[in-house]
């Protein structure tokens, strides 16, 4: 069995699965249950200064559902912990003492004054916690008070606060980034410049989950009104993966440890984050949807997969996919693929046909010799992958690459064996031509 032990900026945990700072980590009771279930670590629910914040007393969550009411996106308007600082610190100390092998990181959010940070850091250090995470991401409520994403959206503030934290504390420091920005590389660079040991991302995304058409208010409504909240869960994973990859391949931050967050629900999601450079992953929505037991298959599944691939420890594959994250302009334009339908698997629903017929390239039949049949017309297929995505049977349609030298029935030209991209393409007005004078 593969070794899942993780050493993330010196913080050790038996596996890379941490619970993200959120309700599942708000109390000793929950955290102890999580550790019993097998979670490798937790980032404690964000602490602030006393008096504690108050939460709304109406609905704080909204969701979107897929078929059969699968929860695919969750949003919340919860603030940071609403329990007294002292109570949280006491519990943190106790938990760390009882569970020394698990990672216990404390999330923090206080106003942007150096003294406020000095004060809270001192008290956290006394608990014996493994590190701190700076919550520069919360996009609702706290940001209206100049904290959370209000800091995370200004790289200069990130750098400033991070520097204070590194200056006034020996603890490893993770900066948690907000996705509510245009270029995630900038806050990551700022965190690094401020001395951060790592970044974690993503926090939640600004969102309105829906509109109650009877009362004409965003839903869920609190007494007839709704505020935007933070979006998370499976639906945000693609956004999070891209942001993780951007930081991992940016020369300015390449090598900066990353804790990947956003929609991690299965071992495979976790492996994907890790392949893009995350040294650990954090989970919130999956646990809030199904309970802590989901970690069992995360551990088991990741370990089994590593065995089949011959990886014996996680750092053997962390970041392995980063070199293959490319800009569009460097993709090989001489690579040609065609869709292929496995007639034995096809159930003849016709979705591939209508998708291609109505919206794309008219490259799939619906009738062959008067019989209902779905076949790819190679002369028309541009290899776009739309049919693969709309087919209800996984694996029924595959994309087959054409061998170099064969003739593409669409262009009637041979498939080139050499790599060639847009930068040198004749249609590109900015093309770099070898014969340039």
């Amino acid at each position: 069995m593969a070794d899942l032990r993780t050493d993330f900026i010196g913080i050790k945990s038996p596996n890379p699965f941490w619970l993200a700072s959120a309700p599942p980590t708000d109390k000793e009771y929950n955290v102890v249950r999580a550790f019993k279930a097998g979670w490798g670590g937790v980032v404690w629910k964000t602490l602030g200064e006393d008096p504690p914040v108050v939460n709304v007393n109406g609905p704080r969550y909204g969701a979107i559902h897929g078929k059969d009411r699968q929860l695919i996106g969750l949003n919340n308007i919860e603030l940071i912990t609403d329990r007294p600082l002292e109570v949280n610190l006491r519990e943190i100390k106790q938990v760390k003492r009882d569970w020394p092998d698990r990672a216990l990181v404390v999330s923090l959010m206080v106003p942007c004054e150096e003294q406020n940070w000095i004060d809270i850091l001192k008290r956290v250090e006394e608990t014996g916690a493994d590190g701190v995470e700076l919550n520069f991401g919360c996009p609702h409520g706290m940001s209206e008070r100049g904290m959370g994403s209000a800091v995370g959206q200004v790289p200069e503030y990130i750098e400033m606060v991070t520097r204070w934290v590194k200056q006034h504390s020996r603890m490893p420091c993770i900066v948690k980034l907000t996705p509510n920005i245009t270029d995630v590389r900038k806050p990551a660079q700022a965190a690094k410049a401020g001395g951060a040991d790592a970044v974690s991302l993503i926090n939640t995304i600004n969102s309105i989950m829906g509109v109650d058409l009877d009362i004409m208010s965003p839903s869920p409504a609190v007494d007839g009104k709704g505020a935007h909240g933070g979006y998370c869960g499976p639906a945000v994973k693609p956004i999070a993966l891209n942001m993780v990859a951007e930081i991992a391949r940016d020369p300015a931050t390449h090598g900066l440890p990353i804790s990947g967050i956003g929609g991690v629900t299965t071992w495979r999601d976790a492996a994907e984050f890790m392949a893009l450079g995350a040294g650990s992953v954090q989970v919130c929505t999956a646990a809030m949807t199904y309970g802590f037991r989901v970690v069992e298959d995360m551990i088991e599944g990741l370990s089994d997969w590593m065995d089949t691939k011959g990886y014996t420890s996680v750092d053997q594959f962390v970041g392995s996919a980063v070199p293959n994250v490319s800009d569009w302009q460097y993709l090989n334009l001489n690579y040609i693929a065609k869709a292929k339908i496995d007639q034995d698997q096809c159930i003849e629903c016709g979705r591939c046909h209508i998708a291609c017929e109505d919206t794309s390239h008219q490259a799939i039949t619906n009738m062959v010799d008067g019989v209902r049949k779905f076949e790819v017309i190679d002369e028309e297929c541009v290899g776009c992958n739309l049919c693969v995505n709309v087919c209800p049977i996984e694996g029924c349609i595959t994309m087959e690459s054409m061998a170099a030298g064969s003739i593409d029935p669409r262009t009637k030209k041979p498939v080139e064996k050499d790599y060639a991209n847009w930068t040198t393409h004749p249609n590109n007005p900015m093309a770099v031509t070898e014969a340039a004078e």
Partner: protein, 459 residues
């Protein structure tokens, strides 16, 4: 033709010793339970989950298999988007009896048989139940059909027979602005929906409710107690109306051709079912202790299951060929068997045994298939029976039609537009040649005929 009116007499002749025929075989509360909905209405959650299973197929196979071409992917999608009213409108646009069809269609041999999820997993989307979900929703929310009549055309059409074919035709004609007189021989409109369909398929007087719903379009004048061949005749109708549609079903019943068929206890299944459907109190309906049903179709299964549910102890369906040849679908056969009905194959009726004018047993001869020909083996089995039901098919009562129409194999010949050999007469449903003897097929016939009549009258 035996009318229902003389049926009670049959029961009354069961006297003294002889056969064991009695009412009230079950505890009072058992009737309601036994005759409750075969497939209860889906609740919202069930409908949502089921609707989510539909792939919204292109040129969907299910839709092609529906005789009325309901846009199934569309209506299921409307359920899943939270628009059951729109779903019902989609259904009614093709099939104004969508509510009854949802209950009685043998979906396992129609739409659901070809659903791609049947192909993929052996578990089709429950199209029939979803159809019922939306049509029931509509009918509980709205008291009239979702159509508005076109301006009155002044044309008059006689529709004879208020079964599915006639109702569908009348409704579509009314939508087009024509005035319809809908004649029926029986006391109530609805045809076999009212008098024939198994009671657990159409509970709570649904047939009558659906008739009211259809008539809500307006422009349809219903005249019951009017029988073609007695107080109505085709020639007069043709003279008085711009067009005539015949949807008179099959009023006659095939006989077994056995000696002793006139004895009491040898009963036409459809007559008994009509009594059962009209019974105010099922505990008052007499039923035999041992029942033998002759036949292999839907009617045979229906009578067998329903007599079993009435408390008959031993019910046997005797069919002269193998089970795979039965007209009743596999699902119906299973329903019979799980209800405790025995299906005896390769047995044909040979004689009826009686005492004092009442049946006490039936003699069945074993049969075999000899190079495609069915022959008796000579081996005879005698099954004790208090009632023997004849469910060997219905026939068109030709005398009622006069001799102006071309018939073939005992049914009215029609073309693709459901036009008969007479230029101003159309026909559809069970009474025409080439039909499928299904409610949904009758609805389609009525719809096609109405469009053809409309085209002819507005040309």
């Amino acid at each position: 033709m035996k009318t229902i009116a003389n049926l009670p007499e049959i029961y009354m002749t069961q006297t003294k010793a002889g056969p064991d025929i009695a009412a009230g075989r079950l505890p009072e509360d058992a009737y309601a339970e036994n005759f409750s909905d075969l497939h209860p209405l889906l609740d919202q959650h069930e409908a949502q989950v089921e609707a989510d299973r539909c792939y919204f197929c292109y040129d969907a196979p299910c839709m092609q298999a529906c005789p009325t071409s309901i846009d199934i992917p569309q209506f299921i999608r409307q359920i899943s988007t939270g628009n059951p009213t729109g779903a019902a409108k989609t259904i009614f646009a093709q099939n104004i009896l969508g509510g009854m069809c949802a209950r009685v269609c043998p979906t396992e041999t129609l739409c659901e048989e070809v659903c791609v999820r049947e192909v993929a997993e052996g578990k089709p989307v429950k199209i029939g139940q979803l159809q019922r979900y939306s049509t029931d929703h509509f009918m509980s929310e709205f008291s009239s059909t979702p159509f508005t009549r076109a301006a009155e055309t002044g044309k008059k059409i006689a529709v004879v027979g208020a079964g599915p074919a006639g109702l569908s035709c009348a409704h579509r004609l009314a939508v087009h602005g024509h005035n319809v007189t809908l004649f029926d021989a029986r006391e109530k409109a609805g045809g076999l929906n009212e008098y024939g369909i198994a009671s657990y398929k159409s509970v709570d007087d649904f047939a009558a409710k659906e008739v009211d719903f259809i008539l809500s379009i307006g422009g349809i004048d219903v005249r019951t107690g009017m029988r073609l061949g007695s107080n109505l005749d085709l020639a007069t109708l043709r003279a008085e109306y711009d067009a005539v549609f015949l949807g008179i079903g099959l009023g006659g019943v095939n006989a077994l051709g056995l000696e002793g068929e006139d004895k009491s206890g040898a009963i036409d299944a459809v007559d008994y079912i009509a009594d059962l459907r009209q019974a105010k109190d099922l505990s008052e309906l007499p039923v035999g202790r041992r029942i033998v049903v002759i036949g292999g179709g839907m009617t045979a299964v229906d009578i067998a299951v329903q007599t079993k549910l009435l408390g008959a102890e031993e019910v046997t369906i005797a069919y002269r060929r193998g089970q795979d040849r039965m007209n009743a679908s596999e699902y119906e056969q299973q329903l019979a068997q799980t209800s405790g009905v025995r299906i005896m194959t390769w047995a044909q009726p040979k004689g009826l045994v009686g005492e004092n004018g009442a049946i006490t047993a039936i003699e069945l001869e074993r049969t075999q298939d000899q190079d495609g020909a069915l022959t008796g083996t000579g081996e005879v089995i005698t099954l004790p029976a208090d009632m023997v039901f004849k469910a060997v098919g219905q026939t068109l009562v030709q005398t009622e039609l006069g001799d102006a129409l071309t018939l073939e194999r005992g049914r009215i010949v029609v073309d693709a537009d459901r036009k008969t050999s007479l230029a101003d007469v159309w026909a559809g449903g069970d009474c025409v040649q080439g039909g499928e003897d299904l409610t949904v097929a009758a609805v389609e016939d009525g719809k096609i005929a109405a469009e053809s009549i409309n085209a002819a009258l507005t040309a």
